[in-house]
Amino acid sequence: MTHSFKSYIDIKENHFGAESLDTSGDESYIEQRQPRLLKGEAVTATEDNVLQFVSLSERKHGRSGTLYVTNFKLSFIPSVSTRTDNPECQHSSLLDEFDVSLCNIDCIYHITRDKKRKLVGGQNVSSKIKGLLVVCKNMRTLTFSFKFANVNSGRSIANALLHYAFPRRHHLLFAYDYREPYVRSNQNNTQMFQDQSDWLDELKKSNCIGWRITSSNTSYNLSANLPSFFVVPEGALDWQLETASRHFRGNRPPVWCWGTNEGAALVRMADMLPGINDRVQENVMLEQVRKAHPKKRQPHIMDLQKSLPTPRDLQISFCKLRDICSPESASRFWNQEPDFFGRMDSSRWLHYVSGCLSIAQQAAQILASGATVVLQEGEGRDASTIVSSLVQLLCNPSTRSIVGFQSLIQKEWVALGHPFCSRLGLIAESESPMFLLFLDCVWQILNQFPGKFEFTETYLTTLWDACHVGIFDTFIFNCERERACAATDTHNPLHLRSVWDWEEQYGPEDVALFRNPLYALKLEKPLSTKLSALPISCGLSSLEVWQQCYCRWVPMLEMTGGGRVQVNFQVRLLAEEIVELQRKVEICRKGGHPDRVAPFDFSEEFSFACDSALLRSRLQNNPSSFFPFMSHSACVGEILLNTSILGDEDESDDRDAGLNESTYSLSTAV
């Protein structure tokens, strides 16, 4: 059966890959010595002869080039025209390979030979800056040296970054200056939950007859961070809601999120305000929740505070995780090797993932048993968002399609007011990667059930990156009210653009990689109406580190020709072959001849299968295990990667052997 597997990796197709990739070739690149600027983007600092070091090369290898700071990004343009524009890599239309958006920058350090000092956003630096270390929220780290640049260049770059990357006020974000026209594409069917219709639709799909849409918050008087429309128990009258809301944190009474066929509802509710001792209003609301159940069953209340991390805990955990998965130096990487598992353990990250998954699983089981679940937590905008979304992913197959998943995020995260602006640290506030914790949980489920989701891990990683681009309204507001205010501001109205129009950012080749071939070809079994949750394993021994997202910046961890991506390629080719055969059979059935079937356009009908010729040429090039992200071997020589793993004693030898013409050996720099 399998031996024919090889047959379709044919050598013939080379012609395609070679030509199509080379047309975008080198010439155009040499001319492009300026960064690509978006409409509304302006350069604020430029310095030549800056060195950017290859990550974890211990400042021994790097490229020389020009460093730009704009009001949108930090951009490095290498002076030597190497093939930096790696065709294997995901290509964003907003950011090039060496670019980082300012929103993505977490902190900046002044580095000297053996010390580093954190620079504080908003303050000016007056001393000479020799080197800069930029640590990003998506775990990327960038190291620059100004040794060969002008005396003051380090300082000017540092000050530009400190000024523009850490805005104090929301309207200083680049999104307000961005002038590119935006038209929402027709192909995007994501439900936005901005008006009643999507909620109504959601209610109809479930059997929650005891619930209604309230419009008591249309002017955000009831709660500043709830949307204009939300779903509440039918018995709770608007005045009751208003009274009750004043007793809850964030003024958030219980809100319906989703319901099952049997009428069991998934409800999110805030804690009572501190200082309020009597729980009368809470009980009134819970009684209404009970009455909303078709069988008037008592709801099951899950207190998430006890078992899930607070935003602060999570941020501490994330910093530890970042240090382990994307250490800033190779020596640190080697130091962490012996006790990697212990460090993972003390970061708590996987414990939190495990906690979210197991609570979601419990909630799913309760829902499946027919009872309503109330998730209670703080303001009901953080951990309950994660759990509520996960429950639906476990129970509701339609949320596992791309559109369904995006609609889920719109509903649970965007509409119900997850404070993205604070949590992503756009304005120096309480940064905490709640959304990443959620994506990690989704990745774990995907990892355990690879055929159940329409999207791939590449999609999830890209989504995390998109959080830090800073121009999508999806991720820059704390709640709907803020978004509405910004959009209707008479002074400088913000152009709302949704992240879900992926074609705005990526070409069809990259978007095709978001789609999971295993999902497209699922062999449908008759759907039973009975709710059944995916039987996930939540224990730590069943969880893995999300390598593609966290470890992609570490060259030592890249496997050439290995990794999960190989499986992905195989399955993609196989799926494509099956689609082709199915078409042949179809045509034969209608009386045609199997050999006279016209070649067909994959992009239209079966968008999971991207261009097979390109796919094969990618496969033959031994793609990096982090494909389609950072390919380190394409940037630096090969030896750097694998052989020095025993560490210290022969590290330097191997590093030096890793030189090729596109890199400089700079053992004395900085």
Binding site: M1, K6, G561, R564, N622, N642, I645
Partner: protein, 628 residues
């Protein structure tokens, strides 16, 4: 949660013929690892057929292998399953296995454990034991599990079961033959023919100008733990080899394991030089090493990897061993790989078993795993092999590998390096050749390391060296999921039969012993059994063409090391053991095959129609199997 563990095959292809046919079916759960226990919970109605059998336990129904004989039956025994609780039933002991069949409808299942896996049997509880199920037998196994059976005191069944088990689990301690010599089954292919040293050398292009085949050890006189046929530098005379043997521990001379097809850089193995505290030298050995270096025109250096930590290598001088000094071997570069000895590895596995069996404490999983050091050892072995591959492939330098005696760590390193370097060893056939060559023929002491049929469970010679090697191979399959023709079941099967003593393959220490005991004549090879069933071991993701020229350079970082739960935790039914992608891929492959067949059928129909046009309108087309 998910009770359907790797649903398992009974280790018995003949008596379960009907089930055999289903092995190439696409049943996603048919993960057959031979010595799995079978859990059929009562509510699982789909396994009705088995339940029927199990409900009327008559010993004569017991599936027996050819040559297997029932030794005793005990009724009213309770198996204390750590996952599903106590189950009363019937325990049967044969000369091959322990077989338990529950008689309780609630917990209906059978358990089969080949006695070869038993490491130790102990009586639990005495006359004064009062608690329920506190009186019985505990069986400690080599394959990461323990079994407990409770007996009723008044039945007096324990003593006879205990004695039968002792006798049959440790036949060598009781002057009985190992089961492999009683086992009578025949297979279509003779697995003993899988490896033929001369043709394997020929495959690598040896003999050639620089390397020759030597039969100087034909009677195992120079080295009793080496095979008869060696590949050595063409200029080395028999006398040279004898002189070198005198300077190498146990006479284990540097000989060729593998040669690079283009650069001619060679991979060699040997034992430590007998340097001793006095710093002895051997001119013949030095000259011989120089010959090896010169046999590779691409490099004037030789890379010697001593697998041990340097402290151990130095300590070995006191026992007459040691390592190659720079003075004596000026063209050699010596590196220590810091891999620990068999005792450290045994202790590490003991801790790992404690962590994994019977259940995992999830919240302490990461720290627990780290404290076993198991993955750290795996990482060092892999890292060592990577360095060898790097030298050979990227620097075209020949590499000589040794440890102390060159039969444990050395076999791990050369074996792994060869798998990384040569795609042939990543096929099923090639892997069998590799095991035969690097492990069996070069004298890895399987009998001592496993302790077949021997009751001395605390023997210091026992160590999971081969298990570590297979674990490393599994790590490679994780990092390069499309590079191997075989799947996890293939590796599990080899590991299972490492202990069962059903096949002659792993029973002895050396080629010489196997020759003396006439293993090939008197027993069946594991490969005969496995090669009769290759489809079961195929990796549906294997991409042969892509990897034809591909050298694997894995990443030996702790961040990439995984615990092989499919092996170490497989007795726990809540552990998801199979990669969920595999069944999906099998489905897709089957779908493709089905569609291809349909298209072919159409083509034939069209041609048939064209050739006899007058018959147009015949019902031919309707008859074709086009329905999916």
């Amino acid at each position: 949660m998910d009770r359907k563990i790797a649903s398992s095959e009974i280790l018995n292809p003949t008596s379960t013929g009907s089930r055999n046919a289903s092995t190439d079916s696409l049943d996603s759960d048919s993960k057959s690892c031979s010595v799995n226990s079978k859990h059929d919970t009562g509510e699982n109605s789909s396994s009705g057929q088995q339940s029927e059998n199990a409900s009327s336990p008559r010993p004569e129904d017991l599936p027996l292998l050819p040559g297997e004989k029932t030794q005793g039956v005990a009724r009213d025994v309770t198996y204390l399953c750590p996952y599903t609780g106590p189950a009363p039933g019937v325990l049967t002991v044969t000369n091959y296995k322990l077989h338990f069949r529950s008689t309780d409808r609630e917990t209906l299942y059978t358990l089969e454990v080949p006695l070869g896996v038993v490491s130790r049997i102990e009586k639990v509880g005495g006359v004064s034991s009062r608690g329920e199920n506190s009186y019985g037998i505990e069986v400690f196994c080599k394959d990461m599990r323990n079994l407990r059976f409770a007996h009723k005191q008044e039945n007096h069944s324990r003593r006879s079961v205990f004695e039968k088990l002792q006798l049959r689990a440790f036949p060598l301690s009781h002057n009985l033959p190992l089961f492999a010599f009683e086992y009578q089954e025949t297979f279509p292919e003779d697995g003993w023919a899988v490896y033929e040293p001369v043709s394997e050398l020929k495959r690598m292009g040896v003999p050639n100008d620089s390397w020759k085949i030597s039969r100087v050890n034909e009677n195992y006189e120079i080295c009793d733990s080496y095979p008869q046929i060696w590949a050595v530098p063409a200029c080395a005379s028999d006398d040279d080899l004898r002189a070198v043997a005198a300077f190498r521990s146990r006479g284990r001379v540097p000989v060729l394991s593998w040669i690079h097809p283009t650069s001619q850089a060679a991979l060699l193995r040997c034992a430590q030089p007998l340097v001793g505290v006095a710093g002895r030298r051997s001119r013949e050995d030095e000259r011989y090493i120089q010959l090896i270096t010169e046999a590779n025109a691409q490099s004037h250096k030789l890379f010697i990897t001593d697998a041990r930590p340097s402290a151990n290598a130095i300590a070995n001088k006191a026992k007459g061993g040691g390592y190659e000094s720079e003075d004596a071997y000026p063209n050699a570069e010596l590196v220590f790989l810091d891999i620990h000895n068999i005792h450290v590895m045994r202790e590490s596995l003991r801790k790992l078993k404690e962590l994994c069996f019977p259940t995992i404490e999830e919240t302490r999983w990461l720290t627990g795993l780290e404290s076993t050091l198991w993955l750290k050892h795996i990482r060092y072995i892999l890292a060592g092999a990577i360095r060898i591959v790097d030298r050979l492939e990227n620097h075209k330098t020949s590499v000589l590998v040794h440890c102390s005696d060159g039969w444990d760590r050395t076999a791990q390193l050369t074996g792994l390096a060869m798998i990384m370097l040569d795609p042939y060893y990543r096929t099923m056939r090639g892997f069998q050749v590799l095991v035969e060559k690097e492990w069996l023929s070069f004298g890895h002491k399987f009998a001592h390391r496993i302790g077949h049929g021997n009751e001395h469970h605390s023997d210091a010679d026992r160590s999971p060296v081969f298990l570590q090697f297979v674990d490393c191979v599994w790590q490679l399959t994780q990092q390069f999921p499309t590079a191997f023709e075989f799947n996890e079941t293939f590796l599990l099967n080899i590991l299972d039969h490492l202990y069962t003593c059903r096949f002659g393959t792993f029973l002895f220490n050396t080629d010489r012993e196997r020759y003396k005991e006439e293993v090939k004549k008197k027993s069946v090879s594991l490969w005969s059994f496995m090669n009769a069933n290759l489809d079961e071991y195929r990796n549906p993701l294997f991409c042969r063409l892509l990897h034809a020229r591909h050298v694997l350079l894995p990443v030996a970082s702790m961040r990439h090391m995984k615990l092989w739960k499919g092996y170490y935790c497989r007795w726990n039914p809540s552990m998801r053991t199979q990669d969920p992608l595999i069944p999906r891929c099998k489905e897709l492959l089957a779908l493709r095959a089905q569609l291809q067949a349909q298209v072919e059928q159409y083509k034939r129909d069209v041609e048939a129609k064209n050739s006899n046009r007058p018959n147009i309108g015949s019902p031919q087309r309707l008859a074709s199997p086009i329905h999916s």
